[in-house]
């Protein structure tokens, strides 16, 4: 049976710099958290499907992040790797309430 999503507070919105990722570790799970230029926050698994690169350290452009290891381009909204490469990373829903950033797991 599916459990209801757990809300976990991970950051204060105002303290997040734009277009710079942050590493969030929840138990053994590692998540890359980004505040995009438009103010939206995205959370994806901090692991490039190519060779496991840490995506939190990538360059962010629009809603995409470029993996710092071999420059794969990944959409932070749907987790899809952009062509010519292929693959997908896990995405997590983000909620912002009273200036606090929550991840739903």
């Amino acid at each position: 049976m599916e459990k209801t999503n757990e809300r976990i507070k991970v950051a204060v919105l105002d303290e997040m710099p734009e277009k710079i990722g942050r590493t969030v570790r929840i138990g053994s799970l590692e998540i890359a958290l980004f505040k995009l230029a438009d103010g939206n926050v995205r959370a994806i698994e901090n692991r490039c499907p190519h060779k496991g690169g840490v995506l939190a350290e990538g360059i962010i452009s629009g809603e995409h992040v470029f993996c710092p290891m071999h420059d794969w381009k990944i959409c932070t909204t749907d987790g899809k790797v952009q062509s010519p490469d292929v693959g997908c990373v896990k995405t997590f829903a983000v909620k912002i309430e009273d200036g606090n950033v929550f991840i739903l797991i």
């Binding site: 710079i20 690169g53 360059i59």
Partner: protein, 798 residues
């Protein structure tokens, strides 16, 4: 359905190209079977030298992959050789006992390398340079052996030699006469070529006839007719090719040098055709690609019973595929009493042009150093144009394009016609050279037809054609080149990356991982004092001031000026390694110590404990200044190399540059600090310093060029400062000095920096840029905000 059966012997470029032509005309009419001895689908043989030179891979030179054969219902027997043709009963037999009957037979067996029949030529380590197997053999050999000899200083030999140099071997090129490429070049161009290739590291033995290959099972040396002997672990025979006509001859088909064919490529036996390097047409056997495509077209039309003009022969043209050397020749190359010539010779810049005119018509040309006119000249020579036509202006180039037939070949390497290009431009809406190249393949191989492709683009687009678009863009987000962007930043006074992208009409809202760091660099270079560096536009290592490793940990290299350390510093490093359980401590090639496996969140504490400045082992900036021990201890040292190295490192550390910059100082020409392969290398000689620039010990191994010789330490600083700032201002982001120096030319740099006032201005600008740099580790230690934003990991325990 009763299909006509075509069998083709040979699976190479000319043959398969002909099949493509046939399929174009009558797609479903024929049942096609192809036999090829090599176990590969059709690949671009002329690109093998690029594979050898490391510029491309075997999979990239495949022209028709396995699927292509399947998609067109072509039965391909690769790795299978036809051994007999029965021309009476019309069938072929193979070495695997297979018999296949035909209605039409195409012989496209190409040519065989000519192995000089000297004693020992069958020894291990002697190879031709003709197919993928030869190429792989040479690559394997270079891993074990060091000394290569190439017999033959023609096109193929020189391309092989360049490849072997790239593979790290020393190369002797042995040539029968005293002129390289003597079938394609005149004496002047040949001498210029030799000089240039010697500069690249090739050694030449001219006027040498090979007499014997010496060795046990494997080659060990070569002996020449004059008795001289040289050592060799690998011998590449590139002394020419011979048409592969054995099968045809045995099967009773008329053969002279090649298989005799008429203008429709028909042999002496009805229903049997020959095309490509194995065929002899009007007493000429062609060994180049472009004519073979024209032959294929003529033959295809005939096989498909189309009315078409036959093949009438081609003017030969050549382009050497060796990086850094531009050579072109077409038609007649040597003048006689009845010819006149137009000549241009600039020894200083290394540019030479000769056009041969017979009865007012252009009949041949040789170009060296600048081959941009090559394809234009070839077209004019092909139609024996009046010389006045060449003397005309740019309009002439366009009108020439206008008169070209759609079926005419533009790119000889990839077989792309004018029609294919114009159709792609119109149908897909291409507007730039790069797009045409990507879409049609024209100009993708040797690049010789680039100017012609640009002319076709200009002619097809008319007023919509924009010359500016034709430069290499910064990245896919824009059509603007590096120069356009830098000029616009300066002129419009742009101040941050987002503004540059907005004002200059970027296609993406926020750039990409290529343009963002580049723009960040250009903005900082142009306006060092006011520009605020954008951390989010920096590549991870430069943002974090440490070198990211594959597991997401970092490596830390503290500054160790001139490679000199102290017991105190070593103790501190050891303590840090213990405290943070550093898994690997390694001495670097740049004379410092690298701590590997440091966790992101530990970085600020590690730096604080070290109490040393960042060594910038991760940055596009001055990395280290490697030094030898110099006069204070060494019995050969003539100068204080350590002192000089430390002074240089202290002066130029932290300056942002287009790419990393490595320096070295040696105290004598023994060069223990390896100054000859650094971006800037200083070598002490008695009473003076030599400064070398543009060296590289990495991917593109390049010896540095001597830039100048000065006597005082102040002059060394002045010259380095000026050179470095000019590089900062002129090079493209991510362009190493080795590439930059080659692109703009050492002479040009010398010329610019010869002027004292220019040097002073450059030094003033670099001093300004240096004045605002900050020690990055200290900055992080002192700023809680940066630590939190960049280095902290949010931990949630569940």
């Amino acid at each position: 359905m009763n299909q006509e059966k075509i069998v083709m012997v040979g699976n190479g470029m000319a043959g398969v190209r002909s099949i493509e032509e046939i399929l174009n005309v009558r797609p479903d009419h024929f049942h096609i079977t192809i036999f090829g001895t090599e176990p590969y689908p059709n690949y671009n043989r002329i690109q093998l030298s690029k594979v050898l030179q490391g510029d491309t891979t075997i999979s990239d030179i495949t022209l028709n992959d396995w699927n292509w054969y399947e998609d067109h219902d072509i039965k391909l027997y690769s790795g299978e050789t036809v051994v007999h043709i029965n021309t009476k009963e019309q069938f072929v037999q193979t070495n695997k006992e297979r018999s296949v009957s035909y209605d039409k037979l195409i012989i496209a067996t190409g040519s065989l390398p000519f192995i000089i029949p000297v004693p020992g030529s069958d020894k291990e380590g002697v190879t031709a340079f003709r197919d993928i197997q030869d190429c792989e053999k040479m690559i394997d050999c270079s891993k074990v052996y060091k000394k290569a000899a190439v017999i033959g200083g023609g096109l193929l030999g020189l391309e092989a030699a360049r490849g072997l140099l790239n593979l790290g071997m020393t190369v002797d090129v042995i040539h029968l006469t005293d002129c390289l490429m003597d079938r394609q070049l005149d004496e002047t161009a040949s001498k210029m070529l030799k000089k240039e290739l010697e500069k690249q590291g090739m050694k030449f033995l001219m006027n040498k006839q090979t007499a014997e290959i010496i060795g046990g099972d494997r080659v060990e040396a070569i002996r020449f007719g004059d008795g001289e002997v040289i050592d060799a672990d690998l011998v590449v025979m590139a002394a020419g090719i011979r048409p592969n006509t054995g099968l045809a001859k045995e099967s009773g088909i008329e053969v002279n040098r090649g298989i005799l064919v008429n203008d429709y490529m028909e042999t002496s036996i009805p229903g049997v055709y020959a095309v490509g390097e194995c065929a002899e047409h009007r007493e000429v056997v062609y060994g180049l690609v472009a004519p073979l495509y024209e032959q294929g077209k003529a033959m295809a039309a005939h096989i498909c019973s189309e009315q078409a003009p036959g093949y009438e022969g081609s003017v030969l043209s050549t382009q050497l595929k060796v990086s850094g050397v531009d050579v072109f020749s077409a038609g007649e190359i040597v003048e006689d009493e009845e010819t006149k010539t137009i000549k241009m010779f600039d020894d200083w810049k290394g540019v030479y042009k000769k056009i041969i005119i017979r009865d007012g018509k252009m009949t041949g040309a040789v170009l060296f150093g600048d081959t941009s006119e090559g394809s234009k000249l070839l077209r004019l020579i092909n139609k024996r144009a009046n010389v006045e036509e060449y003397m005309g202006t740019e309009e002439a180039a366009e009108s020439m394009v206008a008169t070209m037939a759609d079926s005419e070949l533009v790119c000889g390497c990839n077989g792309v016609t004018k029609g294919t290009i114009t159709e792609a431009i119109k149908k897909i809406g291409l507007t730039t050279f790069e797009e045409v190249k990507a879409c049609t393949g024209a100009s993708r191989s040797c690049g010789g037809c680039k100017s012609l492709v640009v002319d076709i683009l200009a002619h097809t687009l008319g007023d919509e054609f924009e010359k500016e678009d034709q430069k290499e863009p910064v990245c896919g987000c824009t059509t603007l080149s590096r120069d356009d962007v830098v000029e616009a930043i300066r002129e419009k006074g742009l101040t941050y990356t987002r503004e540059v992208m907005n004002v200059l009409g970027w296609k993406t809202e926020d750039g990409c991982s290529k343009c963002r760091p580049a723009l960040n660099y250009y903005l900082g270079m142009i306006n060092p004092v006011e520009y605020e560096d954008e951390k989010e536009s920096r590549f991870v290592n430069e943002r974090m001031h440490a070198n990211i490793q594959k597991d997401g940990t970092y490596s830390v290299v503290p500054r160790m000026y001139g490679g000199v350390t102290s017991a105190d510093d070593l103790r501190k490093i050891a303590d840090v390694a213990d405290k943070y359980e550093v898994p690997l401590i390694k001495v670097t090639g740049g004379q410092r110590i690298d701590l590997f496996g440091v966790k992101k969140e530990d970085l600020p504490d590690v730096w604080a404990d070290l109490g040393m400045p960042s060594g910038y082992a991760y940055g596009k900036t001055l990395r280290t200044v490697k030094t030898c021990v110099g006069e204070s201890f060494c019995r050969f040292g003539t100068q204080d190399s350590i002192g000089m190295g430390i002074a240089m490192e202290k002066k130029f550390e932290r300056i942002g540059t287009p790419h990393k910059v490595k320096m070295a100082v040696s105290a004598c020409p023994r060069n223990c600090a390896e100054s000859g392969i650094k971006d800037i290398g200083v070598v002490g000689v008695d009473g003076a310093w030599e400064i070398y620039v543009g060296g590289n010990g990495g991917t593109h191994l390049r010896a540095a060029d001597l830039f100048c010789k000065v006597t005082t330490n102040e002059e060394v600083m002045e010259m380095i400062g000026a050179f470095l700032q000019y590089y900062r201002e002129d090079a493209a982001y991510l362009e190493r000095t080795s590439v930059w120096v080659e692109r703009v030319g050492l002479d040009h740099i010398k010329e610019v920096l010869a002027d004292k006032a220019t040097r002073d201005a450059l030094n003033a600008r670099i001093a300004e840029a240096l004045s605002v740099t900050k020690e990055p580790w200290k900055e992080v230690i002192e700023s809680e905000k940066i630590r939190k934003e960049l280095y902290e990991t949010v931990r949630v325990t569940k």
